[in-house]
């Protein structure tokens, strides 16, 4: 069985209008740049996107918003993005905001066969509306459910042709949980190596979670807040 596909265009085959997809990354860090470009090129629309953020105007998920491909964003923090705000205010775009830890845990639950769990985050807030709440050991929690997504698209630093992945630094973020959570998981990597080249003791995402893998090209890795100190 061969998981390796030639490029992002091949990797995104099967993603259809109206589907729910997960996209790894935090801000513009660790986002699947190649796959986003291919989705924009293919014009797949009416998408529900689960991703911690929504990119900036001209990069990341912002590119999908520009092309009006996104019906709904499920995120913890959005709006570094004028087009996002315009679509939201005009009613073209739906947004569901969730606590960041809840977002991460709902991905992990999906990938772990856990249909629901309890978390303290959001108890007593509008996030809890319509959700079951319950007390454990004198503290209040709300019940959150595993996500249900058709595809998960993640970006890793290195991967092998079996599908094992490692991430670099804080570009790891949501990628490992999303890799676990997709019905079909697509991984784009900066460097694709042969099985055995990654140390089996230090792999972040085991191969079993990855269905398709390819080596991406031309990573821009744009920096959102370039902060430096004078030496």
């Amino acid at each position: 069985m061969n998981k390796v596909v030639k490029n992002a265009d091949d990797a995104i085959q099967g993603i259809q209008d109206g589907m729910t997809i997960m996209l790894g990354g935090f801000g513009l860090c660790g986002i699947p740049e190649n796959s986003i470009s291919s989705i924009v090129k293919a014009g797949i629309k009416e998408l529900t996107c689960i991703s911690n953020n929504a990119g900036v105007d001209d990069f990341g998920i912002g590119l999908m918003l520009q092309s009006k491909l996104v019906k709904k964003m499920i995120s913890s923090y959005v709006g570094e993005n004028a087009e996002f705000e315009r679509q939201l205010l005009s009613g073209e775009l739906e947004v569901e905001l969730l606590p960041q830890g809840t977002l991460a845990e709902r991905c992990r639950a999906a990938g772990a066969g856990i249909p629901a769990f309890f978390t303290p985050a959001g108890f007593g807030t509008e996030i809890a509306e319509g959700k079951e709440s319950r007390e454990f050991e004198g503290k209040q929690f709300i019940m959150e459910k595993a996500f249900d997504s058709d595809f998960a698209i993640v970006k890793a630093w290195k991967g092998d042709t079996d599908g094992n992945l490692i991430y670099k630094a804080t570009a790891r973020n949501f990628n490992p949980m999303m890799a676990m959570a997709g019905k079909i998981t697509i991984a784009e990597v900066e460097e694709l190596v042969r099985p055995g080249e990654l140390d089996p003791n230090f792999i972040h995402t085991p191969s079993i979670f990855v269905d398709r893998i390819f080596e991406g090209t031309d990573y821009e890795k744009r920096i959102e807040q370039r902060t430096i100190r004078q030496n």
Binding site: F26, G101, P120, A121, G124, T170, R172, Q225, T227, R229
Partner: protein, 217 residues
Amino acid sequence: MLTKEQIAQRIAQELQDGYYVNLGIGIPTLVANYVPTGINVILQSENGLLGMGPFPTESEIDADLINAGKQTVTILSGSVFFDSATSFAMIRSGRVDLTVLGAMEVNDKGDIANWKIPGKMVKGMGGAMDLVASAQNIIVAMQHTNRSGASKLLSKLTLPVTGLGCVKKIVTNLCVIDVTSRGFELKELAPGISINDVQNATEGNLIVDGEIPKIKF
């Protein structure tokens, strides 16, 4: 009156050796500049980094190494990277010793509002709801009043709540307040500020017991 830097400096006095600390965006970030000498604190950034270092020099910049404010940062000896689920596992399980956050409003039960203003574009809560629901020790750093002069220390929140009964201490430009079962307990005054000034700027239930010392630096 305290400057933003002085608010941060006062909060830094709460740090203890070995504390794992999560600092929010804004004034809280400045706390890192005032860690007392001789103690070591470890900064947690909820995007997946423990042991956050200073901003990088031009040549050290790495797009794959940012903090929760999406700023480029560096690491230190003993730093560690992890995924977002592990990051919030640390937070929810109470392993973060101190969380410092900004706020739009706090009430005298320790409820906090800091994520949403109805009618304005809502950016989201990020990790704030997880932090306030989980941390044992939450200090709010903020101005005592808003731009139109209205108190931000209230008996009742007017904005959507972020978390209930979680704020333990508030450091503002005017004073240091502990939030206890009795309400806002005035603990220390900023230079040039009277009890009366604090009283006038505080809508919620302010408790003043005995002598109130000046903030020391």
